[in-house]
Symmetry: C2
């Protein structure tokens, strides 16, 4: 008998890599926060002497879901300004509200709310883009949530930084250095969008990102308006401009990428650009429906993101996965597009690839972190179970997420947060609601 | 003090009619299963002496959601054949499975499963279209769920009926007569689709439906294939053919209506045809995205439907409402399209109008049945609450449905079924899963 810290046994397991095949009655052995084995439960019970044995009949075990794009702190603006187009939403509602309320305390509280919501819905890693990234990193580390923290880069002055250049130096000091070897926290740069960053700042960013070997995530070709504005101001589409600035390469993570020409898809494929697809946000802001089917045909890596709760309005990865699968069929006029197996991959291993973290997360394989999710398929709305994979993508609701582990830490058990004080989060959120909601110049539009 | 049977008090109430305004701290008084009053809680506590007083702080009270189109029994085929286009899905998976398994027992068990799922997700009325409608009616009446039971009409022989003509006479005898005055059960005719019903049967249907004063619901212009087939076989688009047969009028409920020309939209508007919009099913089968924005601009009544769990794969009205709101923005390239208030109306009063039941349900008004839903907005994923209406449409998950009443009967309390044995339903569903799943000629495709 060999020792392991935890042995989780479920009726079904979908490791995603090397296969999305559904394995019946398998167990995952975990030691020191990492998966050390995946094997049939009958064998596991003979070979392993676990510190803790967890049995989940009627459940399916999958890798933790990877949210490749959000702005966690903005969860405090959820439902604050709905049913508006992107430009008006940003300029008339979100940016003024941010100017008034964003600060370290707001970012901490908003990020805590978002992390709790993500864990409860089976997400074990998020890629963030917001002011005070050092607070985002500190909060994620404190709550023991996995995060890729993006340092925002934006030309205009904010509470956090005076200029794009100031963003870059602050990010390099506060995030990239301090968390260089952290097991849960990684980092990247996150220029807001092409129109909000100057050529000079992009050039500076390119040097720093190369030096630190960090990815660059940017809202890119999200709306027709963004492209039109760029063409008017610079004579170039944003991708063309970034390409000339030397930023279109395998370190680039294009967030949204709703409006792409065939040539732009080919450019992405040739250069290794990865895409963060945020279907619900794109719908809600009437940005359009991304050509995911075409991106996949071109072998471009596509991960899934929720975007912020201010434009979604949920940070619900199972829902995002289902929406992606459904939308791709309609967009491509092909019901076989993005079948359940591809949708689950997009929400797990492909998301990990999008973030450059696939050596460590995204599948249930020996050596990877034990970022795991257990889902109860015995709920009425997932019955009967002909195919657990189909049920996960097309039927599962967050209430069915029974257990979540991040690096072997049992964050959710029986659908409840184990280490995070939910009542305290709700209390703090209510305080922010009073402050933000009572602002006379703002409020629901 | 005046007596009432039940007094429900919530932090917020959205009556939908006469207004979708959010009312703070209001109470609904119920007697004999009907709403008798809606008034501020302070006043209610002075005027009413209730048999049962129910207080729901942090909750919002809305009318029960109306599912205008499903095939409840098909819930037993949920996830049985996914990621297939409509025609293949029907001809290679669903119809063969139906030929083998459909019968009174299957319809009873599948309908029970669907009713439980609908109640748990806040749906208090469903419009059904399936074989053995007398069993659907009996099951709904037995479980005290509100239903409009559609008698299917289809040319080819099924287990239930030998021909379209046989469908009509069976439906008239078994459904329309027996439940003529039932408080929960109403009925309509439900020819499957234009290509599956002959001109002669449509003519016969028209006479019977007129005699009985019943609506006719039909899958209409769901897919391009359906229209192409009709043009090939008859030289006419289905709507044109139905129009010539005298069926395009205010009694017609067009289910799906994904592919409509401008002229067809005008025809619907001029003749009073109503539409059942099933966005998730349309996406999943790659049928397309209906022009809901244009239908609403033309003042056409549009209700929401889940379609069956075999093509969705959920019977989750809150999810359908959100999907409808999000899709309409993308389809019309207008983020102000189908705002939260219009989406909630579509899921309630407009659904009731679609079924011709708006005198009795669809809003919280004195005289209407007390079909009510209470939603807990204190869950993390609906926090903070700037606008309860926005939270209902864009954030609410079925797990937040705390209470559901149908005609004053308290079906769901604290998120649990009060009068329906959930374990028994799951046990019976598992039996069907064994039978259907083990069929060698079928199984997941």
């Amino acid at each position: 008998m060999q020792h392991c810290d935890i042995l989780i046994s479920a009726d079904w397991c979908i490791p995603v890599e090397p296969t999305t095949t559904v394995l019946d009655k398998h167990s995952v052995a975990i030691t020191d926060g990492r998966v050390i084995d995946l094997l049939p439960t009958d064998d596991a019970l003979r070979y392993y002497e676990p510190g803790a044995a967890i049995e989940r009949p009627g459940h399916v075990l999958i890798p933790g879901l990877v949210n490749t794009h959000t702005h966690a702190a903005m969860t405090l603006f959820r439902g604050f300004a709905d049913d508006l187009p992107l430009e008006r939403w940003l300029r008339e509602a979100i940016w003024p509200a941010e100017a008034q309320f964003v600060g370290p305390e707001m970012v901490r509280d908003g990020t805590r709310l978002a992390i709790a919501e993500m864990l409860l819905s089976g997400c074990t890693c998020f890629s963030d883009q917001y002011y005070y990234p050092e607070i985002v990193a500190e909060t994620a580390a404190d709550l023991q949530m996995r995060a890729m923290v993006g340092t925002p880069v934006i030309e205009f002055a904010t509470q956090w930084a005076a200029s794009a250049s100031d963003c870059l130096s602050k990010g390099a000091d506060l995030v990239h250095d301090r968390y260089a070897d952290h097991p849960l926290i990684s980092s990247c740069f996150a220029p807001h969008s092409a129109p909000t960053v100057s050529d000079a700042a992009f050039a500076e960013l390119r040097v720093i990102a190369d030096q630190l070997d960090k990815r660059i995530q940017i809202h890119l070709h999200e709306s027709v308006g963004e492209i039109t504005e760029s063409v008017k101001d610079t004579g170039k589409r944003p991708i063309e401009r970034l390409s000339e600035l030397g930023l279109v390469n395998a370190s680039l993570m294009a967030v949204h990428a709703v409006h792409l020409t065939g040539e732009e898809i080919t450019l992405f494929a040739d250069t290794g650009v990865v895409v963060a697809h945020c279907p619900r946000s794109n719908l809600k802001l009437a940005d359009g429906i991304a050509r995911i089917h075409d991106l996949l045909v071109a072998n471009i890596t596509v991960g899934l993101g929720t975007d912020s709760a201010a434009s979604n309005n949920a940070i619900d990865m199972p829902g995002e996965m289902r929406t992606a699968a459904l939308l791709s069929k309609a967009r491509s006029e092909d019901a076989t597009s993005l079948p359940a197996s591809a949708a689950l991959r997009m929400a797990t291993i492909e998301g990990a690839k999008t973030l450059g973290l696939d050596a460590d997360i995204g599948s249930i394989e020996a050596g990877k972190w034990a970022d795991l999710v257990c889902i109860d398929l015995m709920h009425l709305n997932s019955q009967p179970v002909y195919d657990p994979l189909s049920q996960i993508v097309y039927t599962v609701l967050p209430q069915q997420i029974s257990d979540v582990w991040v690096a072997g830490r049992h964050h959710i058990e029986n659908g409840r947060l184990m280490h995070i004080d939910e009542n305290e989060i709700i209390r703090r959120t209510a305080e922010w609601r009073e402050r933000i909601g009572q602002s006379t110049s703002l409020g629901p539009v």
